[in-house]
Chain length 212, copies 2
């Protein structure tokens, strides 16, 4: 097995030394670099050429949240593992949407950290248990109902879709080759089915119900 090159970003000197020691002494791992903040992260990464970056969040000058974004913008192939005391949703989601590949809490053991580095290097997404749970929950909310409980017909859905794109009745009529009056009738029926009384409300409801 090849050696995994690891760069460390951690402002606490003691912890940084500890991490260096841990990674340096563990078979199969090597310290590629070790830095107290993200000020020069782009340059350092190009010098260090790490496989995996361990990234603290709360650092002076430039946070790890920015750090992970900067790294991923240039080097999407480098795996970034967040390592922090924060377990609030805000920071978590920011890191993930900036491209972090894993999220470990500092309270986890060093054995778990080593295991996580290995895992993230192999393409996994190691997360502390509570973190994984929160990601799942948030994720679940985003993929709920792909069904049409309002019995909107295909034609009606088509009209609604065009309406939401700024088409007037006339333009919709021209687009799908029917009379404007028919468009109007379709909208009337749609409003009835959705229990709304105007276009904007219908569009809002349709989008939230994933009809369009």
């Amino acid at each position: 097995m090849q050696t995994i090159r690891v760069s460390i970003y951690e402002d606490n000197t003691k912890l940084r030394d500890l991490l260096e020691l841990l990674i340096g002494k563990t078979e199969g791992f090597a310290v590629a670099g070790s830095h107290p903040d993200c000020r020069s992260v782009v340059g350092e990464i190009e010098t260090d050429r790490p496989d995996v970056v361990i990234m603290d969040i709360d650092m002076p000058e430039r946070s790890g949240i920015e750090g992970v974004r900067l790294i991923k913008e240039k080097h999407a192939e480098i795996r970034v593992l967040m390592h922090t005391v924060f377990d609030d949703d805000d920071k978590l989601f920011q890191c993930l949407s900036n491209g972090a590949d894993g999220y470990l809490l500092k309270k986890d053991s060093s054995a778990q950290l080593v295991q996580a580095i290995k895992e993230v290097f192999e393409g996994g997404a190691p997360m502390s248990p509570g973190i994984a749970h929160r990601v799942l929950n948030a994720f679940r909310e985003t993929i709920p109902a792909p069904k049409n409980e309002y019995r909107i017909s295909e034609r009606e859905q088509q009209v609604l879709e065009l309406l939401s794109r700024g088409f007037s009745y006339r333009m919709i009529a021209l687009e799908i080759l029917i009379s404007p009056e028919t468009v109007k009738k379709h909208l009337k029926n749609i409003y009835q089915k959705l229990h709304v009384q105007c276009g904007p409300e219908a569009v809002a409801k349709a989008i939230r119900a994933k009809i369009i």
Copy 2:
């Protein structure tokens, strides 16, 4: 530490026996029940009273995907750990949106399975590395822009929100105690900022940009 009661759903007799043995012999775990399919899952769960369910997906009559939904509908507190050979996105997302708390591949070792049961029981969300990675990727796509790049003001956002709920200019005016003409002016500005020309389109764009 209390004993973790585990129910097993697995149609392959050999594997089921193996799982029973593994869990029965491991300190801190007990087999609460063991079943070859989900036909009577609701009743079985009430008899077994497990803390954790290990759920295969591909079973005759009724799949584990339905199984997890049925369990979670009645007993949200029971932790369900999927255990399957499938690693396609479709089945994965179906299971997760049905409430699965973890997702392990059968190729993982039995030590990892035991560890995962413990983890899911303690509120974590154990996933095989590749699975976790896919969940993160899918998740990332859903939370891209939490910012307001259209520079919609607070007041404008408020007007837009009411519009999307079916309020006419007049009603909005009454609601927030301004003149209908001001409402109109706000909408005009909103349309400019969003590059749209009518209410329905503005609402659609605002919802998709997460402004409202």
